[in-house]
Symmetry: C2
Subunit: 350 residues, 2 copies
């Protein structure tokens, strides 16, 4: 079945998705009856292109690789002047699914939230890897989706394509989740790992993370726990029925930890990890992000480097842990595909 | 939606499932639109009962708890003399789903395989936790299911209710799986853990496992790797397109390992695990079960005690690891429910 797709944002995630569409076209069609037809792309920096008959993915990818604008796309297309504002583009272009992959603004969730609302109201399923709308407006957007009989899916917002929401929706369906605990920030986990295994001081490990591209020039969002806070809010609200906001999460980062602390813990058979946690106590939901000393026997203690992991504590299955990549171009691109395939499985069964 | 259900086998798994049906009736109906109506149960030791209007689960559970026969069920029911042979019962009782939970015969897969065929041919979905039919006849049974437009689901055959097949079908759909590696036998993992953490000799650790009920009086199936072989064959055939048989799997158990080996490995920063592995090399599928020394950084190295875990090596997501219970009354009972919910999700969307 063919799906007409609009991409909003075409940075690393969008290009990762396009690469997968290109490499996997045959497999997606033959094994999953899924044929993506990208009908529009708009990106703040890279321009826009609208082609109701579908874009040639290879052409788009080589255009972007050459650093050219999408407006330079050479092939059947509409005049792009008509679609300067992404909101107009979303409203006017007919499509089945919108993939929202713009930058995260964790204060306002904009402009992504407006894009998502517009798409749902004009009858499009929405898939996003953007933490902003999911952390700030999950219930509102989910309701709007239900009202329009469309889906609002957010697999990529927590551990890139490592299945979190798919796992709970399918494999763990029927369980009550009492607690979710995990390592949701690869940068801090990399820094803590280096401090322990290579005996680095905090500043040294942070500098290495920056050199390797794991940490930003301003590392605050990672090292002070804000990134993990956004993710834990998403888990609380989307999976445990919470209605919490980022500033209600107890937060402590790792920047005060020193090599001495790490090595003292190690000598005592413990390992520091930045643990994001959300717990249900009756109808009360409590969330926190803070460094914890874990015994080596904890499945989360073994998660080293830039990996992520989550442990679900459930009433029937006890503890189930999933570990995998928490970031990456192809991995986050895959999260978008994975949600599209879920939509397609649902529609095919109708 | 109501589902008429036949249970074949009502030992620990069947009773675990009935307990979940009882405890979770409201949640299953309200959150999953799933209302199980158990219309027949037959068990080699516990007798049979057939009640087209549905059995009272609480009554069945207390009957079994008192050590009575199902034939003593006190409530609306058919005369049980008409259904002495499970095959007749499966043929004659109208139902939507049959849950097959009899004992595993890994040599023949019988009588379970005949029960499953009969159910599929008479229009019932089949859910099983039995390794025999899944390891020996997966493709044949899957084809028979397709032919009859019914599902044949096997979540409970590898890691009890810890999602393996659900994970691959949903969260990882779109990936090619290059390799699956894991710890699939809790008994041997418990023994190896005890040898390392408590410095026990093999015989001592085995004895403890037997006392705790993790190991059988005859521990051969576990310690010589036969149980893990059956599971790795299921993974190879159901998830990687293999057509291999148990005797094609290279197998080595843990009974030759001594405390000395374990502690020498530990001193070198390594940990022995009984690793089940299946690898795709072009169209060639190779499977093995054998002790391996893993570096502590391997996610499988941290899996201690009776837990199970699997690492999927995929083309898009790299390595994704899931860890959880590998056995247990409620956990395996849940695997059956989990497959029933998957069937129900599929039907609702039609």
């Amino acid at each position: 079945m063919e799906y007409r797709i609009i991409l909003i944002g075409c940075g690393t995630v969008g290009q990762g998705l396009l690469e997968i569409f290109d490499r996997k076209a045959e497999q997606l069609r033959d094994q999953h009856d899924f044929e993506p037809k990208v009908v529009a792309i708009t990106d703040k920096l890279k321009g826009s292109v609208v082609a109701p008959d579908g874009l040639n993915i290879k052409k788009v990818l080589s255009l972007l690789k050459e650093g050219k604008k999408l407006n330079d796309y050479d092939g059947p297309r509409l005049k792009v002047e008509d679609f300067l504002d992404p909101l107009d583009l979303i409203e006017q272009v007919e499509a089945d699914i919108m993939a929202e992959m713009t930058y995260t603004d964790i204060k306002t969730g904009e402009p992504a939230t407006s894009y998502i609302k517009k798409a749902l109201r004009t009858g499009k399923h929405v898939v996003t890897s953007n933490k902003g709308p999911a952390a700030l407006h999950y219930h509102e957007l989910k309701e709007l989706a239900n009202l329009n009989q469309r889906q609002f899916r957010i697999e990529g917002t927590v551990m890139s394509g490592t299945p979190v929401f798919h796992l709970v929706e399918n494999g763990l369906a029927g369980n009550d989740i009492r607690e979710i605990r995990g390592i949701l920030n690869g940068t801090t986990n990399f820094i803590l790992s280096k401090m322990e295994t290579d005996g680095m001081e905090y500043d040294e490990a942070l500098k290495l993370a920056q050199e390797l591209g794991y940490a930003e020039a301003d590392p605050t969002a990672d090292v002070e726990g804000f990134d993990a806070v956004a993710k834990v809010v998403i888990l609380a609200n989307a999976l445990m029925g919470g209605k919490i906001k980022p500033d209600e999460v107890k937060r402590q980062g790792i920047s005060a930890l020193r090599k001495k602390d790490i090595l003292e813990a190690k000598a005592a058979g413990l390992r520091y990890k930045l643990i994001a946690k959300v717990k249900k106590d009756g109808s009360r939901i409590e969330a926190s992000v803070s460094p914890e000393k874990l015994p080596f026997s904890d499945p989360l203690a073994g998660v080293m480097g830039a990996q992520n992991a989550l442990t679900f504590d459930t009433d029937l299955m006890g503890k189930v842990t999933i570990q995998g990549a928490g970031a990456g171009r192809i991995e986050t691109g895959f999260s978008i595909l994975s949600d599209m395939l879920a939509i397609s499985r649902g529609e095919k069964k109708k």
